[in-house]
Symmetry: C2
Subunit: 345 residues, 2 copies
DNA sequence: CTTGCGTTTGAAATCGATTTCTGTAATCGT
DNA sequence: ACGATTACAGAAATCGATTTCAAACGCAAG
């Protein structure tokens, strides 16, 4: 039999958290009734008022750990992303956070550095912490979600898809590659190269596919040496740009398929005295906090924040019991704007 | 009397999490013994082996919620910051995350948008989730930490200090302002203005104080109209820069006291055709992912990541029972580098 | 052979909120 | 006015791991 000592002479002001038992004692009711009041179940208004008064007086706030243990779920969700320092993921995280907060959830941030092991460890944590769900930007295309799925934890994938049959939110990567390339062609550049992401990464292949499409539609042969693969980071962009510039017949413009590689490419170009518009550059992905002249670099804006908001919304629906079959949402890119100027001659 | 049904024919493969009771049953010992094995307490090696085998077979992972409820603490800490999209805080968060992860903690990210209400709400959550501690970049100088402190939750403040007597990690803001200004003077600029942060914000006052110091030491009067206050964001930097340019006797250089305002100021200057080095610019804080020419803008690097690592380390010490009186750590800035070129004439 | 101390282990209490179960009181219909 | 429902509220079980308490056992010394 459990004993609850309810000492009224609480000397040590507020050092301990007040519990539902103390509230019950002060209000002259049972703990069960307190719980009912706090959860909006039917209770006579007399007792209900007494409970509310007592709770306010003790500035009672229910212990989430106990609640979570009993209800077998918490109001915490995990956001698992490759790199919190990449502004794209930051914007995405911001969208997730905003949406979750208005729904009363908190966000645990998990940084994987694109490492599958780290990712797996976070899945274990998510389960053992009884988290309500997971929003995931997969580190690899073979991410194993079974630790989560077998425990019925809802998962929404963002940006990249997984091998599993779950909700996914992506964007029109191929169209982004297409518009970026077309913008450069329209500006008068004729030899347009492409710095793609790592081989085998879905977004990378799609975006460079869009570049191919654009060239085909314009009846230009896609010179295979004009397609570089790099690692989606600044140094990758630098290396690829250097390689392109050293070709026997170098391009006069380039489509860079993510934001950080765009920074690298632009750095190299400006070091070489070929900053846009001397050399045409289109970047897929935003470069916040740069001081670039917006008329000389074409930027295809990606809906990073909206990706986050959408994923969060879908996850919340699942948490609330939505059982429809998995959906794939493809967000439209906010169109390529700021078309670059014509090369100086 | 509690009953634990231990069904051996677990048809629904892995749908439920296995518990310590199932491990105990499979190993032929009591739950208490399982707990002891898992926590490294003295147990005979025969039973210890049996437990470990059973745990492995069931791929048992202890329920953190139950553990947290019983032990009255968790392995989760909260990082409360004003803006997750600001690269300064991102780098700081990254430092915190890395340090915490190697110590086995997880990180809950809390975005306040510099709003005291939101901040207070997060404190409540931290307490009711039994979090082990809080790392805080205060939204205001009057942040009320009593909800945390009265419950003995360790708190470390970063970047800005609070009214409370707790651990703080800051950096040499005044020295940063001084070096930035000196670098501009050394490059030959003579009328150096300053775009400071909001009035009353500690870091803002210190950095602009450093600007004053530098001018005094160089025996130059600090023209009061050369000191602008702005809101630490891009638009603030823009507005302040425009104001400076419109003065009757405009400056020929400016010290900008944070990264985002630096972006705003540079945008305005390049729109006005006065990009550095035509107009001298020194920025306090890093501008990652920009394509600026590093020889024309002076950057005072701030130890953002290290701030995070240090704060996390201090918090972990407190969590582990360190009771020494509150410390204030002041990190050295990684010195101003990349001194700008002399104005064109 | 017995008393005594130390070690290992299990039974049960515990953390705090939720929820089922059950009993009592109040309400309704005829 | 009486039996049948319904509404309300408390006692106790529950979530799963930790920890206290006490029993049981082994071994050593007298």
């Amino acid at each position: 039999m459990r004993m609850h000592i309810l000492d009224s002479n609480n000397e040590s002001a507020g050092v301990t958290m007040s519990t539902i038992y103390e509230v019950a004692a002060k209000a002259g009711v049972s703990p069960a009734t307190v719980s009912r009041v706090l959860n909006g179940l039917k209770v006579s208004s007399a007792k209900s008022d007494a409970v509310r008064a007592a709770a306010a007086e003790l500035s009672f706030s229910p212990n989430k750990t106990a609640r979570s243990l009993r209800k077998q779920n918490s109001e915490v969700i995990a956001l698992v992303i490759p790199d919190i320092e990449n502004p794209f993921f930051t914007a995405l995280a911001r969208g997730v956070e905003d949406r979750l907060r208005e729904a009363g959830f908190s966000l645990v941030l998990c940084n994987t550095d694109d490492d599958t092991e780290t990712e797996a460890k976070y899945f274990e944590i998510a389960v053992s912490e009884n988290m309500a769900g997971v929003i995931l930007v997969p580190a690899a295309d073979h991410t194993d979600l079974s630790p989560l799925l077998s425990r019925n934890r809802p998962v929404v994938a963002v940006d990249r898809s997984t091998g599993h049959d779950i909700d996914v939110v992506t964007m029109e990567n191929r169209a982004a590659g297409l518009s970026a390339t077309r913008a450069l062609l329209a500006s008068g550049y004729s030899r347009v190269a492409c710095i793609a992401g790592p081989r085998g990464i879905e977004t990378a292949d799609d975006r460079s596919g869009g570049w191919q499409d654009a060239l085909n539609l314009a009846d230009r042969a896609a010179d295979p040496t004009y397609l570089c693969h790099a690692n989606y980071r600044v140094d990758g962009g630098r290396a690829a740009m250097l390689e392109l510039l050293s070709l026997a017949d170098p391009p006069d413009a380039v489509v860079v398929t993510n934001n950080l590689m765009g920074v690298g490419a632009l750095q190299v170009l400006s070091e070489a005295g070929m900053a846009p518009p001397a050399f045409g550059v289109a970047v897929i992905g935003d470069l916040p906090f740069t001081t670039l002249d917006p008329t000389s670099v074409t930027i295809v804006h990606l809906p990073a924040r909206n990706l986050g908001v959408t994923a969060a919304s879908m996850l919340i629906e699942r948490i609330n019991g939505d059982r429809q079959s998995p959906r794939t949402v493809v967000l439209r890119n906010e169109v390529a704007i700021a078309v670059g100027g014509v090369p100086t001659r």
